[in-house]
Amino acid sequence: MYKSQQVALKYFAAAIVLFGIMVVAGLLAATQYVHNGFLLNQLDFSITKILHIDTMILWLLMGFMGSIYWFLPGELNRETEGIKLAEIMFYILCGAIAIVALVFIVVQYGGANEFSMWFINQGRKYVEAPRWAAIGIVLVVAVFCYNIIATTIKAKKVTGIMGVLIVDLLPLFALYLIAFASITNMSEDLFWWWWLVHLWVEGTWEVLIGCIMAFSLMQLLGTERRIVETWLYIEVALVLGTGILGLGHHYFWIGTPGYWLAIGGLFSALEPLPLLGMVVHAVYDAGTHRMKTTNKPALYWMMAEAFGNFLGGGVFGFMMTLPQINLFSHGTQWTVSHGHFAFWGAYACGILSVIYLALQKAREIAEVNGGRWKWGFALLNLGMVGMVGALLISGIAQAFYERAIGGSTLQAFIEGQSNMWFVQGINARLIFGVMFALGYGVLVYDLLTLGKRKAVQPALLRPA
């Protein structure tokens, strides 16, 4: 095994740990919705929410980086350049995450001054990490870019997938720099901040996961390079064609010019089209191989990615993306429902698929199957579907009672929060959240013991 792949396994392990912290923080935040006084003044909702969202971003990022470090040596037939540096950056990143998490939990907040910005909380949603840690993230991503580009140059070989990946690295690195801006005009600040949030998620990450899935398809199903590269070009073009200006749906109601309503609505409405293409592609790939593979969980998680992306991004997104609807749904639990489903489908399922693939190779398992992964798969996906369904009900109640009837006043907000439908939805979300957490537990157990469990002898199963 290449050193790069050993480093990749470390990234995957850290990603799964962060996934767990995200689940725990999510459960705490969900409990705080049900019991408002839960951990009040000890670990407030504002902190559990930050932990939940930031660990989500970080575990996916670590999963992406791990996936690339895993596939890169095989793609270019050589060790990754500067892999020692990548390993050092991995430990620095883990240390930084631990320190930032401790500061969030113990210190929590500071005064409105430079010290807080540098050492406690930068104060910008989703990129709350204090400035010193944000600089650390920039360095980690810079090393990641260097590893890929330098390895490609040394190998003197640019495959189609590598070409797409390298082009994607520049915006992946540059867009994060927006986290450092200090713009005092709130509309202007949000305008650029969405470049980071949306263009990372619906731009660079989409391309990154497209490249990762292309590598996975070749390894999992033995699909020919020319085929995956052709489809990578088509799908990346379609996703970026609709996704870049789909940015406009975040520009509703933040003080941007009115034409963004039309641009955002139009391009967002087109976003489900490539996702439907991916569903057709997934059925073709799985069907032509008759679902036969030596790694069932990897295949199922890959299928879940195509369907989850379509349902979460396409169906749940289109429901609320036109400005006429978004006026009422923006910022309610409806958005939360869409966000959970889309992230799960578009990224989380894909990374879990790669982790199963990597473990199969690393532990030299001839065939990955069995019953345990199915439980993890079912509990996680049913838990997620239940959560997003419950949040959808709460969100619709909020949009109707708080926004449409109540007119978005503070009183309407409070009444909306105590509405029966909202409360029932929030309660149900917690129950399905527990189901999801159980699924996470089963997943971790399965990953830890994969290839280490003793195979049951057929003779033992026969009646005496």
Binding site: R226, L273, G277, V280, F316, L322
Partner: protein, 98 residues
Amino acid sequence: MMELGPIGTALLLGIFVLFAGCYGLLYAIARLKERSTWMNAAYACYALQVVVTLLIVALTPLTLGWQLLVIVSCLAYFKLPAIAWSHLELTHSKAEVP
């Protein structure tokens, strides 16, 4: 005629894409299994999508431009699975040629 509010409109838009997804999924399965039953089910889903499109046009407060967008999308959703499938077959058949 009764006009739906934002919630009803949103649900119709969601169902619109959901039927598109069902149509695409069933279309792909039908081509894979080469069975007309699956294809009929796919077309039934598409027919339901057309019905939802008509309901969106007739009952929602969306203005003409947005209604046209939904109608054009509905037509695109009809062709998309067939185009995707034929390209998949094309790329795979080319790959099989030594």
